[in-house]
Subunit: 260 residues, 2 copies
Amino acid sequence: MVHRMPAERTRERTAPVSAARRRRLRADQARQLADLLRRQVLSGTFPGGVLPLEDTLGADFRVSRNTVRQALDLLRAEGLVERQPGVGTVVVCEKYAHGLDRLQGLAETLREHGAVSNVVRTAGPVPAPAPVAGRLRVPEHSDVLYIERLRLLNGLPLSLDLTYVPMDIGAELIGCDLENTDVFRLIETLTGTRLGTADITLEAVNADAHSAAVLQAPRGAALLMLERLTHLCDGRPVDLEFIRFRGDRISMSGLLHRSV
Amino acid sequence: MVHRMPAERTRERTAPVSAARRRRLRADQARQLADLLRRQVLSGTFPGGVLPLEDTLGADFRVSRNTVRQALDLLRAEGLVERQPGVGTVVVCEKYAHGLDRLQGLAETLREHGAVSNVVRTAGPVPAPAPVAGRLRVPEHSDVLYIERLRLLNGLPLSLDLTYVPMDIGAELIGCDLENTDVFRLIETLTGTRLGTADITLEAVNADAHSAAVLQAPRGAALLMLERLTHLCDGRPVDLEFIRFRGDRISMSGLLHRSV
């Protein structure tokens, strides 16, 4: 007997099955399969970036060819794979893992994947709005350094970063090589102090038209939004960032513990 | 002299400014403002969930009324706020913080916000596909328990969870109250062993049509996708999950350290 994924088993128990229900079951199975294939795509399981044939995938996962096609359609819609005539389904977009275990700048994190460069869109003093002043512990409306950077890996846009830094550090930072160096590294060099911890919040948001254009992503594309307040190891907050990662290019990985 | 946000300062230096450039600068400023307001919305800063008037926001953040409007439009598009005639701009969607610091089930995490209930869409044995078998360390195509749940907080859809559990635990799990209890808690009770760690990967993806319908979200809505492999404290992997959180309802927060 050939085993099947659970949605199909359910189908057998509930015949006769309407066309609408069959479509729903196939969609459920396609999602299950897409999630398993996504992991394999991200971890570079497929030699040469070419996925197995649809029939092979169907046999491996014990689902119908239609379900395989629908699963591949989901991954294609996410921008992870593409169908190439005469080749099959190929991985088109490498997704880079940003560590949740250790506080690192983007260039540090992606060192093995290539060079990170930054297009500095803005860099200059700005009076700190109340929510910035409060978190950086500077007087409201006193100047802080505001930096806006489009960050690229090997020329490909990865993220749009909005950064606020207290002016005593910012005044020196503004003269540094922001195009090619992580702000984290520059802050550690300028202050002679190691960074300590960062409070982070991660969200998924749809790209507005303007952010999408800057990131060269489709309007409405899913972005991984990171808000990060970074402190020196003495506890002083020195770097407030709002980072929009392209969802199709960056994932965040880490290890959670049951008890802390 | 009234200080302004940096994009406007740039504008002063580069006059004459074309209409297209002015629109770009205003979009940049609207994004800056939206990011600051988003934080305030999420942390419940505004009394009664009502945002200050547009003029007040403009004065507080030293931007034009048009920029304020555009920033509020961005937050409205994210489903965070709404304009109500006679009231102003109000927070419409509470976003719940899921901790990145500690491994917790959804009901544990959101205890103070209300009751988590689960619609069990599927629960039954399924032959483990290779990527599942490998991660759960069971023989390929041996049965594992597959559970698919729509998870709701106070009746509102939060996430769609696909779960694989080894059959020795799963055989007992299937008879438990999956509607009202976290799988984490059930596994600890059934095995008499505490959970230890989990490997997680977070991504932002656009909802496909079917997942969007299940989550009652717009098609293409940004989802926070969590893959999580959870181990007992003796290191045995016991729970592989693929979780689609509605991006407008869940954020993930934690603390990162520079050195580990």
